[in-house]
Every structure is written in structure tokens, then in C-alpha cells.
Assembly symmetry: C2
Homo-oligomer: 198 residues x 2
């Protein structure tokens, strides 16, 4: 009998959720089976249910974990007293860092949320919509202050968020540039298009 080993105040459930993130990322939620997950945890499939309620619970855990972190950062940034452009940059850097350092969870939350079931599904969709609205609002504030070029803010937000989720491919790439290089490259490319030409 092989117990799930848990170092340092990390519950067995958390171990399972972490392994699930890896698996859901590489196979997709539907294609990843509980038996796959069990094997990667080192245990029989049925044993998982001593720690979790269902497969979907794992997805909840992942999606809302990520969503909450982003929402919290949004609140933090909104309250700072700095120009809108800097707020945008701060948010972008946060996104990039999350993608680099919590790759699996962020990726899963981004691509697999469709498979949430309905009290949670609409909740999640709402959160995303709200997040984007608030992001766009920051950009629009910058535009009114003539600090940012007059572009369509919602489109800009879409571009930013999806551009960053492209780090997925960087993550798998062989000839990696460093994480800081990546971050600065992205900021250059994304943000420099924002400011008016002189």
C-alpha cells in the first residue's frame, strides 16, 4: 500500500489537484481519466475519492484558484495612484509571471473552463467578463487622459490576454530565452503600441 506522500503542510488533496493540473494541461480535461490521474499520483483510482468529491471538483479548484488570484491583483492595482499606462504594465507583468510560474494551472483555467458545470460555469464566465471590463476601463481612463492612444479598449484587452497565453508555446520551446527576457520582450511589443507617436 503506497500512501500519497505529502511534504510540508501540503494536504493530500493539494497533491492531487497539482497532479491534475499537469494532466489536464497535457491531455485536456475530458481526455484525462481518473485512472490516469491515479497512476500519476501513485495510487488506485478509487482511492482518490477519499480526498476529493468528483473529477469536476478538481477543475473548480483550479479555475477559481487562478481566477481569484487575478481578481485580487486587479483590486490591488486599481487602488494604486499611478498613471493608467503603468497600471496596464503592472497587470501585464503579473499575467506573464503567473503564466511562467504557475503554468499548468493558468493554462488549464484558460482552456478547460468550458467543462465546468452550471452553477460554477456561469459564475466563472461572469468573473472573466467583469475582469475584462475593469481592465478595459483602466485603458479607457488612460485614453481620456490622452496618455494612451485612442484604440478600442476591449479589443486591446483581448489581444493582451491572449497574447500572453501564448507563452504556452514558449514554455515548451527548446531554445528558451530567459523568463526576464521574455517578459521584457512582451512588454516592449505590447505596450509600445499603446503610447502615442511623437
Amino acid at each position: 500500500m503506497a500512501r500519497i506522500k505529502t511534504d510540508n503542510n501540503v494536504s493530500r488533496k493539494e497533491v492531487i489537484v497539482a497532479k491534475a493540473a499537469v494532466l489536464f494541461r497535457e491531455k485536456g480535461f475530458k481526455a484525462a481519466s481518473m485512472r490516469d490521474l491515479a497512476e500519476s499520483v501513485g495510487v488506485e483510482a478509487a482511492s482518490l475519492y477519499n480526498h476529493i468529491k468528483s473529477k469536476t471538483e478538481l477543475l473548480h479548484e483550479l479555475c477559481f484558484g487562478v481566477a481569484n488570484r487575478f481578481m485580487q491583483k486587479m483590486e490591488e492595482v486599481e487602488q494604486e495612484k499611478i498613471p493608467a499606462g503603468e497600471k496596464v504594465e503592472k497587470l501585464l507583468r503579473f499575467h506573464i509571471n503567473e503564466m511562467v510560474h504557475h503554468y499548468e494551472e493558468v493554462y488549464v483555467s484558460d482552456r478547460e473552463w468550458k467543462h465546468l458545470s452550471d452553477p460554477y460555469l456561469s459564475n466563472f464566465q461572469n468573473q472573466r467578463r467583469i475582469y475584462r471590463k475593469r481592465f478595459a476601463a483602466i485603458i479607457e481612463t488612460g485614453i481620456r487622459a490622452k496618455e494612451i492612444e485612442p484604440i478600442d479598449a476591449p479589443t486591446a484587452v483581448l489581444i493582451f490576454l491572449h497574447a500572453i497565453s501564448g507563452i504556452e508555446s514558449w514554455h515548451r520551446s527548446k531554445q528558451k530565452i530567459s523568463a526576464e527576457e521574455l517578459e521584457n520582450n512582451m512588454i516592449t511589443i505590447l505596450v509600445d503600441g499603446l503610447y502615442p507617436r511623437k
Copy 2:
């Protein structure tokens, strides 16, 4: 008995592939069942197999259909005798148009190719890698000609391609701006970051 109705030289197989694109987009490849597809086509599940070999064949058809169109455009653009910046812009506009007008197929090809099986899988991955290399090469030519800012070309390519795939959300959005507006907004935001500041 309800036959699949086919107007205008369009084979029944093509009807099925088209419906599959819609279904795969909204549920994901794994979650979409052949019985779902059959219902949406208006026929029993088993009947589909008079026209197709397998579920995965539908995915091949979609993925390689899209990939081939992009490869062809790449060849076309490479051979034009225009500045690198304009080549980039042409490719981006093509991407945006494909995403707007062949939404379902492009989206599926982008997100569901993981579920291809192995002779096709590696083939598809190769095509993508090659496509990106050639795209990056164009940008690098522009950089050497001091026509484009010295940025990391592979990163720029990742950003561009993923940014455009974000149109997905625009497609579903209610308060749509027009397709041309969208295209021009995107080009402004993405391309303007490329040229050196004066």
C-alpha cells in the same frame, strides 16, 4: 428515413465535416460524441460511417484544411517583392480574416490538434513549427534592414498568432464592432509596436 440534404456540389462528407467543426468548437473534440454529431446532421450515428472512416478523420480534415490554407498564403507572401513590414501586415490580415470568416475550423484546428493521432500529429506539429519559423524569418529580415525594431522575432510571432486567436471572444461578444473595425484595430495595436519610434 431522412437523407442528408446537400445543396450545390457539396458532398455529404463535407456537410458532416462542417457540422463537426461547429460541434468540436463548442464542446471540444473529446466531449463531442458521434451521436451528438449525428443528431446535428439529422441522422443516426451509425449512418455517418457511410461517409467517413472515423471520428479522428474529421479532425484531420479540419486541421490540415486550415494548415494548408495558411501554408499556401505564406508561400504567396514570401515571394512578393515588398518590405518585410508589409509582409507581416499581409499575413496578419489574412489570419484575422480567416478567423472571422472560417471561425469554427480555424478555432478547432488551433485548440484541438492535440487529439490527432500519431502519423498526423507529428506532421501537424512540424507544419506549425515551420510556419512560425518562416514568419519569424520575415520579421528578422525586417530587423536587419532596420525597418523593424530589434525585438525577439519568435516571441513576436507567438504574440501575434495568439493575439489573433483571441478573436474567438469577439466572435461571441454581443456588442460587436464590425469586422473591418476589428481588423484595423488589431493591426494598429499589433503592428505599431513594431516600427521604430522617431
